[in-house]
Subunit: 578 residues, 2 copies
């Protein structure tokens, strides 16, 4: 029957198959989830109440054999920011959904019985809601094991851990990877709590083979697919740095630049950076086993993921990303990579976003709850989240919440969401993205770091403020387009530098959709979709005052450059109104 | 030297005496604190950071012998609502400040050493900052005892308990009453946390006698004072109901009207209402000792306060107000007045607003933390606030915070502040005030209940929506004027019904200031000051979406009337823009 939308109503446990309108047909990923949320969700509703909706959508080209294209987009009104939210993840589920012909899943309502959980089980031509039973209350590792045992090896699993079940606003949505670990998270913004509020413990997807993906112009698609693959396999970042060291290759780079937030954003340089870097992960893969160059889904040619083992060579966690190594490491002054990896594993199990969790531990440490640098006690307190103890409830609700609980005023959040691993006072452009993104502080919303630190897509002095509005706008616009395609954002390293790779990406999109989008259309569509997200946020009550960095960054000087954040409010306001 | 402003800088521990400008000379109370906050505080600052300011001001006529005129206004940016905040209280301090010639105290900066506390000691011609020493960490009962011991009987004490020291956003500012109890609270909006962030444990005021209050036109003042006194002593509410039963006379009245919020705002009627009513307080005063008809400051002719003793006749707490009896009683389904009184005492000691505390316990009960109706366990958990345990940190940060911690979506707050003791679905006009007040949900910002339930100042059907915008606007406008004068808001019962009493109030104001304000000026000034407060809130990022009741009230029907809240957004938006 071609593509369809599944509408799952948790109030009456009904499931409807709906035709895809022409408006929605040409959308995918973030463009689709955000459009559905904007069309169907009252912006002032309680994000954990019956009137929010949770939307899942594979990208436009997801399910095809285009390289690195297996992203799943998850959207809703965020209980963390109060605004529109999209987070996306790799792993197995997106490709399987696309190959079942599922254009999107819209979950609405709330279960009659609070605290009761269900599993949505999907296979060719079937979609069933089953009681979650023994899965309820389980961590994601055990959940994945039980699901594979019951539904068979290799099924795709979208799920939430105890944090999501308990409606904690730092709960993420887990996707399993080919090793069945729960490490691929649509982590940000508390979407796991929205899933919890719907009473949905997991979505299980049984699907094998190439499935029913339709390609309007196979010739053009194939041509694009080859160009893009070639680009990804030739660019230094996507072909060498990422498969060799993973994203944590950035630890030493950002530390050198004085932009690695340390000790709850009170310094830009961490003495222990070298010990938690991608270089160590690479070395451990050789000495302990584990892996680097691990793909998070079949068909990824970048393969930036990794598996980090314990000292005895047994499996600990996959992956340890740069953001996680930083958040749970440098930001907490923890320089023991084993402790960092264990914290990462707990996040994966309980169902937490690692960025938010690391920033939360940072403010808890500043509030005197546990000492900075104490990895063992950090592990202890993070485990409490899964138990739902009072301190666990605090930590599980994120950085701003924990800061308020313990009277901490150095709070590294924008729109309530914790900052990622780039200090705005040392990398000014990323601060513009943090401030003006529809998502709250989010490096993946417009990664100016590529240009400011990695000299990809041009060069820009990270400490300069001039032109950073235009830079952030350009990155935000192209990012939302990539987020719509279902490609991994990391293809941007290649497409920014290699015109052929960029054209290849557009060819695959046009090939699938039968459209004739040009590069100008990419900018136009990106702007339109951002505008749609911003309109939702405005209707939810956001103003330009929400497009600001936290006050302390404007008056506290950050070592080693000893800068404050000096991008003007006028520049910030011009980004989306220029 | 006449009146002056004290500027206390906690960063360098300096105190400056400043001349009162002509602009400020004619302001007092809320009009003055809000104007100073609007003039000096950046609306986007962190409310607990160095850039917020805490302002204390007696009213225009405070310190004179006008009846019931001893209110102290406290203002700042609120850590609970994020907007401008004024809360006022009776008790001894305001009159003493006024009689020392202090027009206002502005506290700014923050102490170099976090967690270090000071006492501001004031007497004729002296103002000194002293280290708080042994007072640090003490509850307000012990704090008051120690201060009276050190500084002498009868000094005025403004102070914070452990909740304020720990920067909890439900911390209030205590004023002592003539019995030296800490029961008179400028409770709302977390101003105690602002005081805590300034490192100020207490302000001690040594002052005796009539002091230096200046009256420009003594003749006019005296005439007004007599008219108003006569009115207060003749109106049924101020002369009979309040001195006999205290404010808790309202328990049975609101229960009868179906507007007594019960079990976390899930019903408007409480089976146990009769057991926690003003009638029982009155009876206990006879059988156990204690008091009714107790004035909270010298010169009050209404004397609505009370002292509620333990079963053995020993002192427990003063006062138990309607709001407290409801919040800690009906809203938690607790029908044992001894438990309610003990909860009230804990609030007074730890330094919490009783309304916010009761609503917080209500959502904690709904979240399954403790059972509804269990007074003993409520006492246990409320004590944790003072100890700063994790669950205490949650409860101490108020209703919205606690709801988030425990995943509760029935959250009775506006602008982050908990609702008082009148159900908007049963008393529609007060809902308009809750929604549109600059203060968050606050019955004292525009008490339409007077007309809707008590038939004072006219009559209005509480269940009707028509005209409720105009009613709320009129009440909000006259209220801010009364809050500027330093009169207790309860004079409104008399001045709304008795033209002579109203004229008497205006005569006393004109008498003190040497102005010629008419009744029209009252409306004009009230509107101007409200506009000033709204401008601050807008600059802090508030929009019309903040002028709404919580979503659940729009779709959950409230027994016994089985109504939802059906005042339109258009009506709400018209209140301050009509």
């Amino acid at each position: 029957m071609g593509k369809f939308i599944l509408r799952v109503n948790m109030s009456d446990l009904s499931i409807k198959k709906e035709r895809v309108s022409e408006k929605y047909r040409v959308l995918g990923g973030r463009a689709l989830t955000s459009t559905v949320v904007a069309d169907e969700v009252n912006p002032t509703c309680h994000p954990l109440g019956p009137n929010n909706k949770l939307v899942f959508a594979p990208g436009i080209i997801t399910g095809t054999n285009a390289p690195s294209s297996g992203r799943l987009s998850v959207g809703a009104k965020s209980p963390l920011t109060g605004g529109i939210k999209e987070a996306n993840a790799g792993g197995l589920p997106a490709q399987k959904l696309a190959r079942l012909g599922i254009h999107a899943i819209i979950v609405e309502g709330e279960p009659q019985e609070k605290g009761k959980f269900y599993v949505l089980s999907l296979a060719k031509d079937t979609a069933v809601l089953e009681e979650a039973g023994e899965l309820t209350g389980k961590g994601m590792y055990e959940t994945n094991e039980l699901v594979w045992k019951k539904y068979g090896d290799g099924v795709g699993i979208i799920g939430i851990g105890p944090a999501g079940e308990m409606l904690m606003t730092n709960a993420g949505v887990s996707c399993n990877d080919p090793e069945n670990g729960p490490g691929r998270y649509a982590g940000r913004g508390g979407l796991g709590a929205v899933m919890g509020s719907k009473g949905l413990k997991a979505i299980v997807i049984e699907q094998k083979g190439p499935g029913e993906v339709q390609i309007a112009n196979p010739e053009l698609f194939k041509q694009g697919q080859q160009k893009l693959t070639q680009g990804l396999l030739s660019h230094a970042v996507t072909a060498q740095a990422l498969p060799t060291f993973g994203t944590a290759v950035l630890v030493n780079i950002l530390n050198e630049a004085g932009g690695l937030p340390t000790r709850n954003f009170s310094s830009g340089r961490f003495a222990g950076a070298g010990k938690i870097s991608g270089e160590v992960i690479n070395e451990w893969a050789k000495t302990r086993g584990g892996k680097v160059g691990h793909p998070c889904h079949p068909g990824c040619v970048i393969r930036c993921s990794n598996v980090v083992n314990k000292p005895d060579g047994s499996y600990r966690v996959a992956p340890v990303e740069y953001e996680s190594a930083w958040a749970l490491g440098a930001n907490c002054e923890i320089d023991d990579l084993d402790d960092v990896a264990e914290l990462n594993r707990i996040c994966n199990d309980v169902g937490l976003d690692t960025i938010e969790a690391g920033c939360t531990l940072g403010v808890a440490m500043e509030g005197g709850v546990i000492p900075f640098g104490d990895g063992k006690r950090a592990i202890g307190i993070l485990k409490e989240v899964g138990y739902g103890t009072p301190v666990g409830r605090i930590i599980g609700n994120g950085t701003a919440f924990t800061a308020k609980a313990f009277g901490v005023t150095r709070v590294p959040v924008v729109k309530g969401q914790a900052m990622p691993a780039y200090e705005p006072r040392a990398v000014k452009g990323i601060g513009v993205t943090y401030a003006t993104s529809t998502m709250g502080a989010d490096h993946t919303a417009g990664y100016t770091v590529a240009t400011e630190i990695l000299s990809v897509g041009g060069k820009a002095d990270p400490l300069a403020t001039a032109e950073k509005g235009a830079l952030a706008k350009a990155f935000q616009t192209s990012t939302i387009f990539i987020d719509a395609t279902g490609y991994c954002l990391f293809i941007a390293f290649a497409v920014l530098d290699l015109p052929d790779a960029l054209q290849g990406m557009m060819d695959t999109v046009n090939g699938v959709l039968g459209t004739n989008y040009t590069l100008e259309d990419m900018g136009r569509l990106g702007s339109e979709w951002l505008k749609l997200e911003r309109s939702f946020n405005e209707a939810a009550g956001f103003t330009k005052q929400d497009d600001r960095l936290p006050e302390f960054m404007y008056y506290e000087k950050l070592p080693p450059h000893n800068n404050v954040y000096d991008v003007s409010d006028e520049l910030l306001d011009s980004v989306h109104n220029g």
